[in-house]
C-alpha cells in the first residue's frame, strides 16, 4: 500500500518499524522525548517505546556520540539524532577518531553499528551556525558511510538500510525536506546503500544533484524541457560508497555534466564526483567542460535574500545546463 506521507513521517515510520522488530535499536539525542525532536521527527515515539529506548540526553554531543560508539561496540544499534548537523563539530572525535576507526585499528575485531541522523541545510533563517552542509567532511574519513536521501521514499528505505548496516553511518537529512511529501509504501523496506537513483531520465545533459538540489534540478528540468532540453537527473543518494558507475554511464550517454550541491563549492563533495568522472572512461565522451555548482565561500547569512543567494537556485542550474550546451 502506498500513500503520501512527509519525509519526516517516513523517517519516523522507518525507525518505529525497525524498533518494533529489534530490541537492540534505540534512539538518543537532545529533545527527542516528549518534545518530539527539534523538527518533530520523533514525535509520538517516546509514548510508544518509552524513555529507555527514546533517550533524551543532556547537551553533551561528545558524550552522547561516544556513548553511541560504546553501545554499538557492545551489541546495541543506536541511532543518534544530532539536533543540527553543525553540532557534529563537538562530536567529531567520537565519530572520526573512534567510530570510523575502531574496527580497522582492532584488526577486524569489533564493529560499530551506529547511525548519526542529522538535519543539514539552509533556508530557515537559522544563520551561520545552524545552516551548514558539512557532508564533505564525513566523506573524507575512511570507515564512515554517508547517506543523503532527497525524498520520503528514499529516506525510509535508506534509514532502515543504515540501521541494519554494521558500520557507522552518517545520515544527512535536510531541514527544508522534512515537510515534502511522497508516495511511500506502508510496509518496511530497505533500499541499497551505495546505489544512485535516476530521478528523471534524459538525453542531453546529466545533472548530478544531492538532497534539496535534487528537487531544484527537477524543477529546472521542467523549465528546460520547454526549451527542448532534456536533462537526466541523478541522485547519488549515498555519497560513500558512491555509485560512480551510474553517473559514468549517464555521462557517456549525454556527454555533458553538471554537478550541484548546497554545500560550499570549494572542497565540496561535487569536486570528488567531478574528479571521479574525469578519471573514468567517461572522459573521452565529454563534449563540454563539467559545470560544478555549490554554495558561495561564505558562512550562511541571516538576511533571507542573502541566505538564498548563498546557495545554488533553480536558475543557476538552468544556466549551468545551458553553458554545457554552448
Amino acid at each position: 500500500m502506498m500513500r503520501e506521507i512527509t519525509y519526516l513521517e517516513a523517517l519516523r515510520e522507518s525507525m518505529s518499524q525497525i524498533m518494533r522488530e529489534n530490541e537492540d535499536v534505540f534512539m538518543l539525542g537532545e529533545d527527542i522525548g516528549v518534545y518530539g525532536g527539534a523538527f518533530g521527527v520523533s514525535r509520538g515515539m517516546i509514548e510508544e517505546f518509552g524513555p529507555e529506548r527514546i533517550r533524551n540526553t543532556p547537551i553533551s554531543e561528545s558524550a552522547i556520540a561516544g556513548a553511541a560508539v560504546g553501545a554499538a561496540l557492545t551489541g546495541m544499534r543506536p541511532i543518534l539524532e544530532l539536533q543540527f548537523s553543525d553540532f557534529i563539530t563537538i562530536a567529531m572525535d567520537q565519530i572520526v577518531n573512534q567510530a570510523a576507526k575502531i574496527r580497522y585499528m582492532y584488526g577486524g575485531k569489533g564493529k560499530v553499528p551506529m547511525v548519526v541522523r542529522t538535519p543539514a541545510g539552509s533556508g530557515t533563517g537559522a544563520a551561520a551556525q545552524h545552516s551548514q552542509s558539512l557532508e564533505a567532511w564525513m566523506t573524507h574519513i575512511p570507515g564512515l558511510k554517508v547517506i543523503q536521501p532527497s525524498t520520503a521514499y528514499d529516506a525510509k528505505g535508506l534509514l532502515r538500510a543504515a540501521i541494519e548496516d554494521d558500520n557507522p553511518v552518517i545520515f544527512y537529512e535536510h531541514k527544508l525536506l522534512y515537510r515534502t511529501k511522497g508516495h511511500v509504501p506502508e510496509e518496511p523496506y530497505t533500499l541499497p546503500i551505495g546505489k544512485a537513483d535516476v530521478k528523471r531520465a534524459g538525453t542531453d545533459v546529466t545533472v548530478v544533484a544531492t538532497s534539496i538540489m535534487v528537487h531544484k534540478a527537477l524543477e529546472a528540468a521542467e523549465l528546460l524541457e520547454k526549451e527542448g532540453i532534456q536533462i537526466e537527473v541523478i541522485d547519488p543518494r549515498t555519497l560513500v560508497p558512491l555509485d560512480i558507475e551510474t553517473i559514468v554511464e549517464s555521462v557517456k550517454k549525454t556527454s555533458r555534466l553538471v554537478v550541484v550541491h548546497e554545500a560550499v563549492k570549494r572542497s565540496g563533495f561535487g569536486a570528488e564526483i567531478v574528479s571521479q568522472v574525469m578519471e573514468s572512461d567517461a572522459f573521452d565522451y565529454l563534449d563540454a567542460p563539467i559545470q560544478r555548482l555549490g554554495g558561495l565561500d561564505v558562512p550562511i547569512p541571516y538576511n533571507p535574500i542573502m541566505e538564498k543567494k548563498a546557495v545554488p537556485q533553480i536558475d543557476d542550474i538552468v544556466s549551468a545546463v545551458k553553458r554545457t550546451l554552448k
Binding site: 529507555e52 560504546g70 580497522y104 585499528m105 569489533g110
Partner: protein, 328 residues
Amino acid sequence: MAMKVSDGVQLSTERLLELYHQMWLVRYFDEKVDEFFAKGLIHGTTHLCVGQEATAVGACAVLEERDKITSTHRGHGHCIAKGAQADRMMAELFGRETGYCKGKGGSMHIADVEKGNLGANGIVGGGIPIAAGAALTSKMKNLGYVVLCFFGDGASNEGSFHEAINLAAIWKLPVIFFCENNQYGMSGPVKEMVAIENIADRSKAYGIPGVVVDGNDIFEVMRVTEEAVRRARQGEGPTLIEAKTYRWKGHSKSDAKKYRTREEEQQWREEKDPIEKMAARLIGDQIASREQLEALRIKAYEEIEAAVQFAEASPMPNPDTITEDVFA
C-alpha cells in the same frame, strides 16, 4: 583465605602470588618495549606504565570476566591485567600478523574485545564516553557487567570526561571512572593543570562518590575498586576513583623529562615501588617467602623473553590486506 583486605576482597595465597607475578609481567613487558625502542627495533612511539603496575593489576583483579575496560594510550598494563597474552601484545607492537590487531593498531590502539578490553586509545579522554556507552548496553539489556574506565590526570581536563561522567551519573550507569593520577599530563604537572588538589573531588560536581587511594598499594586499589564495582553492579551508578601513582619513565619515547627532577623520580622508585610494597606485605604476613617471590619474578622475565621470540618469529601481515576491515 590468606588475606582479608576487606569484606569484598579476600584473597588466597594462590591468587596473591598470581597478582604479584602479573605485576612483574607488566613491568617487564614495558621495560622490554623501552629497551627495543631505545635500540630502534620498534616502529612509532609508545607510552610506558612502569611504576604504575598496582593500578592496572589491582583494579582489574576485582573484575569478573564479563566486565569490560576501556584503556588509554598508556595501556599495556591494563591489557595484560585484563587477561591478554604478552606474546600477542608484543607481536602487535612489532606490527605482526599475529598481533591482537593484526599489526594494524599498534601500541596506542591495542584491544582485546573478546576479553572485554574495549581498547587503548590514542585520544586523551577518548575512551571515557565509550565506557559510558558500554555500560549503557549492560543496563539496557540487563547483562550485569560493569565497565572500568581508565584515564589519567590529563584526561580529567578534557570535555569528554565531564560530559561522560555527568551522563553516567544521571543515567546511573554501571561504570567505574578510574583516574590514574601519575602527577603529569605529558609535561604538564597536575599541580599546574588541575585547579583542585584531588581530582576525585570533581565527583561532587556530578553527585557521585569520589575516592582517593594510594595507587601504589595494590591492596588499597583492590579494596576501593571492589566497593565501586559492587555499587555499580547493584545499580547504584558510577564512582570516581583517583589513584595517586607515578610513571617512572617519560611520557613517550622522546621525552627528556625536563619538567621534573631526577630526585623526585628516585624517591618514587626507591620508596614507593608498588611491586616491592606488595612483596613486603606478603613476606611480612608470612604468606610467601622472598625465594618464592623471586621465582615468580624470574618466571615473568622469561615469559616476556618468550613473547619477544614469538613476536620476532611472527610473519608481517600481507600488505595487500591493507584495505580489509575498514567496513564490517
